[in-house]
Every structure is written in structure tokens, then in C-alpha cells.
């Protein structure tokens, strides 16, 4: 990736965040937009782990769960401000990822997938079953972040959904910036190298175990922050965020968009987030169409939307 594609990616993302609202007929679109951004943030983490480093995780929703519940619980039990609670959640997710990552990252392919799946399910189970702490499967309220109140106090009057749109957008762009930095950095190159050939990576001096762990921790932090953002804007969270389906959804978004690309992550998130909203007009055909779209995209754009589109555009230029 060259400097220019990096800058272009950031510009496109920022432009989308800023310009789209001019076309929003109602507040509801802000809500969908902010969901896209939150999902894109989580998926960017998957891009780092899977797209760069080639490691599969089917359990990252577990980290989103940790991030989300941190925002619900830390303010109550530790007296943390909800914003700090999100950072606390991120640290906790990173810590958990660091602890479990070492043993499970020794596994490869589907074995890694099933181990991470187990990890995610364990987190979801604890959240659902330790009702004394988490209030169980029906979920728990999350305190208000209070940032838009603060903005209001300094004269910026902004609806709740709108605030969350811009705030999530900002966090997503920062997340994308970091992921793009990583891609071209020595660390990112080393991650992609171990994806290509682990043994060759070791021979050129890459500490594969440590690097995989780093990617795992970083992606866990992304997922955790996404979970926190979701919890804070919904002001409510249930163990579903940590569920298996959510993990699958993240991976699907990443692959659909083009697993190695940050802009692809956004595209994948945008499509899978808006699709169910668009498909409501088809009522009972919704699931059928959703499945169909997923299949068609992967059949006709096998490397994912973005890389395939890019290839086509380049082909036309020729």
C-alpha cells in the first residue's frame, strides 16, 4: 500500500462521516450510520488479525462483550466514569487476550477458530449466567457517557443519535488511521510475512509468537472499544453482544469487504449493517435475500468487495 492509498482511505472515510448527514432525511439514519462505524471499528481489528496476520478468530465478540459490560459495571462497582470504563474495558480485553492468546495462537486454521470460538462462548456464558454481577441474559443498563450533555453545556446542541454518529465516526477514523499506519510499518510487514510463511518469517528474525499475540491483543482492543461504544449509545447491553453470531458477523463483514483492507472493513460493515434495514421491505424474504447477497458477493468478488472492485477499476484503466 502506498502513501497515497493510505491518505485516500482516510479521506474517503472522513468524507463519508462528514458529508453523509447532509443527505439524511431523519435522525434514524444517524443511528444506522453510527452502527456502521461501530461495526467498522470492530472489523478493522479483525482486518489486523485476519487480513494482516492470517489468524482466524470466531470469538472476538467476547471482547466486545467485555468492553460493553465494562461500561455497565465499572461505573457502578468501581466508580469509574463511563468513558474511563471503556478504556478500562479495553485494557481488560487486551489483558485477557494477552493471557489466553499465547496458548491458543499456537493453534492453526480451524483449530484456532474453534479455540477462539470457545473463548468467546465462555465470555458470553459468564455474562449470561453470573446474574449477581451482570443481571443475566436480559441485560443491564449502561450509564450515560455525558459527553453530549457536556457539549450542550458549552453551547453545542446536538441530538443524542447525532452525537453518537459523529463520535463513533471519529473513533472509527482514528482506528482506521492506526490500522493503516500498522499496515506499512515494520510490525505490519512482519505480520503479513508470517501470514505468508511462518517458517520463513522466523528465519528472518520475526518473533512469530510474540507478533501474533500483539495482533491478537490489538484486535481485541478494537473489538472491546466497539463493544463499549455500542453499550454507551444503547444505554443498555445484553450478553448477545458477546454471542457467537456476533463473532461470525464480524468475520463475515471483514471477508465480505476484503479481509486485508481497512476500507474493505468499512464497506463490509456498511453492507451487512444496512442490508437488514433495507430488506425490511421484503418482510419474510429478508433472510433469504441476506443469504443470497452474501453468496453472490463471494462468488463474484471472491477476494471481497474492495479488492475485486479495485481490480476491475484498474482493469478498465488499462
Amino acid at each position: 500500500m502506498t502513501m497515497t492509498t493510505k491518505r485516500a482511505t482516510l479521506l474517503i472515510l472522513a468524507a463519508i462521516v462528514i458529508v453523509s448527514p447532509f443527505f439524511f432525511p431523519s435522525n434514524y439514519y444517524y443511528r444506522v450510520g453510527s452502527l456502521i462505524f461501530v461495526n467498522a471499528l470492530a472489523v478493522t481489528g479483525i482486518v489486523i488479525l485476519t487480513g494482516y496476520a492470517g489468524q482466524v478468530s470466531l470469538g472476538h465478540a467476547g471482547f466486545a462483550g467485555i468492553g460493553g459490560y465494562a461500561c455497565a459495571l465499572a461505573p457502578v462497582h468501581l466508580g469509574l466514569h463511563p468513558g474511563l470504563a471503556a478504556l478500562f474495558g479495553a485494557a481488560l480485553s487486551g489483558g485477557v487476550a494477552w493471557l489466553v492468546g499465547r496458548p491458543i495462537l499456537r493453534l492453526r486454521g480451524y483449530y484456532l477458530a474453534v479455540a477462539s470460538l470457545g473463548l468467546g462462548i465462555l465470555v458470553a456464558m459468564v455474562l449470561a449466567n453470573e446474574a449477581w454481577l451482570t443481571r443475566g441474559p436480559d441485560g443491564i443498563e449502561v450509564p450515560d457517557l455525558g459527553l453530549n450533555d457536556a457539549l450542550e453545556a458549552i453551547g453545542i446542541d446536538i441530538r443524542n443519535t447525532q452525537f453518537w454518529y459523529f463520535f463513533s465516526g471519529l473513533v472509527m477514523v482514528v482506528g482506521a488511521w492506526i490500522a493503516l499506519n500498522l499496515h506499512d510499518s515494520p510490525t505490519g510487514r512482519a505480520l503479513r510475512a508470517l501470514h505468508g510463511s511462518e517458517i520463513a518469517a522466523r528465519v528472518v528474525g520475526i518473533d512469530v509468537a510474540r507478533l501474533k499475540l500483539r495482533a491478537f491483543v490489538i484486535s481485541a482492543v478494537y473489538a472491546s472499544l466497539a463493544g463499549s461504544l455500542l453499550a454507551l449509545q444503547n444505554k443498555f447491553i445484553t450478553p448477545d453482544v458477546a454471542g457467537f453470531m456476533h463473532s461470525i458477523e464480524m468475520v463475515t463483514m471483514a471477508v465480505l469487504g476484503g479481509a486485508g483492507s481497512v476500507l474493505g472493513a468499512f464497506l463490509g460493515a456498511a453492507i451487512l449493517t444496512t442490508l437488514p434495514q433495507v430488506l425490511t421491505v421484503f418482510q419474510e424474504y429478508e433472510q433469504i435475500l441476506l443469504g443470497l447477497v452474501m453468496m453472490l458477493v463471494m462468488i463474484f468478488m471472491r477476494e471481497g468487495l474492495l479488492p475485486s472492485l479495485a481490480r476491475r477499476v484498474r482493469g478498465r484503466e488499462k
Binding site: I178, N181, L182, D184, S185, P186, T187, G188, R189, A190, R192, A193, H195, G196, S197, I199, A200, A201, R202, V203, V204, G205, I206, D207, V208, R214, I218, G260
Partner: protein, 265 residues
């Protein structure tokens, strides 16, 4: 005075098979030591043990006086040991240039935070590595393929890419496993020169190669393996006349190696 790289009684078994047994030899800076032997003699396995890909079942690898037996390859890389592979190990998902830059990993990598934030120090390191990598690609004749996807190179080109990547580490010990496989006589000669040049700069080179002309031409010392055991060792001249070696490996054509190209015509 001890040698830079010392192999002491190295051995390993797979199931019942003694793939390598009680092999010892040494290599000094600037020296090219060739390991030859029939297919399945254990040459690659020996390399795999020396470079830490396999943990030896017996014996020791001593690098610069330090016992490095069974050490992980990435640690060995830090100590200056680098290699190429008989079965190509290319980073297929990256460009040719990036493959070469990856070889600079040890000198290129810095704090993670700097990488995440793209601090000037990161950019500086990356630039230096890229410049170095381009120079190396030039050296192996791949300069004009730098921006291509590595997966799109022909076999012979990939072999040379591996050499460039291994050289990027600026190793003190370099292990080359059949570097000239898939190259014709002329290309082989180019690789010859490259290897000789690298050796001349003070690198100890271990070479596995079936191209006997090349081996005879550039080796300082030859170790012959058969069925995992060392059956001969010495100067090229002596080894190639050893009846045991001729019987097991070189075959009757061996004479050609010395009698010039007459036999070829």
C-alpha cells in the same frame, strides 16, 4: 581457536529412521562448506536442525562459541544465522520488494507504539530498509520485478528472491539449500559469483547443491552425507575422487568434473 559455526555429533530420527546421525564439521568466516549426498541423505534435515526448524535429537550446534542447539530460528537470526529453503518459502501475499524488506526485519523493527502512530522514527527505519532491499534485488537481478506480486514470479526468480531475503539479514552464517535448482548453467554461474562474493565479505556459507560443477568450483570444503552419516570430508578434489562418494552419489560421470568439458562434447 574455535570455528564460527561448529556442528557436533548432530543427529535426529523420524520414527525409526535415523535421518541424520553423528555428523560433525565446522565452518569459518569466509569459507564455503558444501554438504552433498544422495537424495534423502539428510542434508536438508541437517540444515533444519542447524537453523532451529527442527530440534536435534542429539549433538550440538555451536555458533561463535555459544551453544545454540534447538534455539528458535528467530533468535538464531539475531545471532546472525540466515538461510534459504529447498521448498520455497515465499511471502506470497506480498510484493517482491516487501519480501526483500522483510529480510531487514531485525534492523527495521522498533517500538510497536511508534509503528501504530507512524512516528518519524518508523518512517525512517522503513525507508532505510526499502533502500537496502532495492539494492539487494538489483544484486540478484530482480530489480525490475520489485513491485510485482511475489506469487507471479517464475521458479528460478523465486529462488533468487529467497537469496536476496537471506542476505538482507547481513548474516554471519548463511545456509543455502539448493540455490541453483531451477536455474540453467548460465544463471547458475551468476549465483556462483554472488555466493563467492558474499563469502569473500567474511560470511561462513553452508551450501547444499546437486550441481557438482558449481560445488567443485566454489567450495573450500565438502562434507558428504549418505543415509544420514558423514561418509567423507575434505577438499573438493579429494572428495570427488573418493570411490565411496562416486559410488553413492556422483556416479561414473564424476570424471567429467575434472577432465574439463571434454566429456560433454
Amino acid at each position: 581457536m574455535s570455528a564460527l559455526l561448529e556442528i557436533r555429533n548432530l543427529g535426529i530420527s523420524f520414527g525409526g529412521l535415523r535421518a541424520v546421525h553423528d555428523v560433525s564439521f565446522a565452518a569459518n568466516p569466509g569459507e564455503i562448506v558444501s554438504v552433498i549426498g544422495p537424495n534423502g541423505a539428510g542434508k536438508t534435515t541437517l540444515f533444519n536442525m542447524i537453523s532451529g526448524v527442527y530440534r536435534p535429537g542429539a549433538g550440538a550446534v555451536v555458533l561463535d562459541g555459544r551453544d545454540v542447539t534447538g534455539m528458535d530460528p528467530f533468535l538464531l537470526a539475531r545471532l546472525g544465522l540466515s538461510r534459504t529453503f529447498q521448498n520455497l518459502q515465499i511471502f506470497q501475499n506480498m510484493t517482491v520488494l516487501e519480501n526483500a524488506v522483510a529480510g531487514f526485519h531485525l534492523r527495521e523493527s522498533g517500538p510497536l507504539l511508534a509503528d501504530l502512530l507512524n512516528l518519524p522514527s518508523t518512517r525512517r527505519r522503513a525507508r532505510a530498509a526499502e533502500a537496502g532491499a532495492r539494492a539487494l534485488l538489483e544484486r540478484v537481478g530482480l530489480a525490475n520485478a520489485a513491485e510485482r506480486e511475489a506469487g507471479a514470479l517464475s521458479y528460478g526468480a523465486l529462488k533468487r528472491l529467497e537469496i536476496a531475503r537471506a542476505l538482507a539479514l547481513e548474516p554471519r552464517v548463511l545456509l543455502l539449500d539448493e540455490p541453483a535448482a531451477g536455474c540453467n548453467a548460465v544463471e547458475t554461474e551468476e549465483i556462483d559469483h554472488l555466493i563467492a562474493e558474499v563469502a569473500a565479505s567474511g560470511v561462513a556459507i553452508l551450501l547444499v547443491e546437486h550441481d557438482m560443477k558449481m560445488v567443485m568450483r566454489i567450495s573450500n570444503h565438502i562434507v558428504v552425507l549418505d543415509h544420514g552419516e558423514k561418509i567423507a570430508e575434505g577438499k573438493p578434489e579429494a572428495v570427488s575422487r573418493d570411490p565411496k562418494v562416486i559410488a553413492a552419489y556422483l556416479g561414473p560421470d564424476a570424471a567429467a568434473l575434472h577432465e574439463g568439458e571434454v566429456a560433454h562434447a
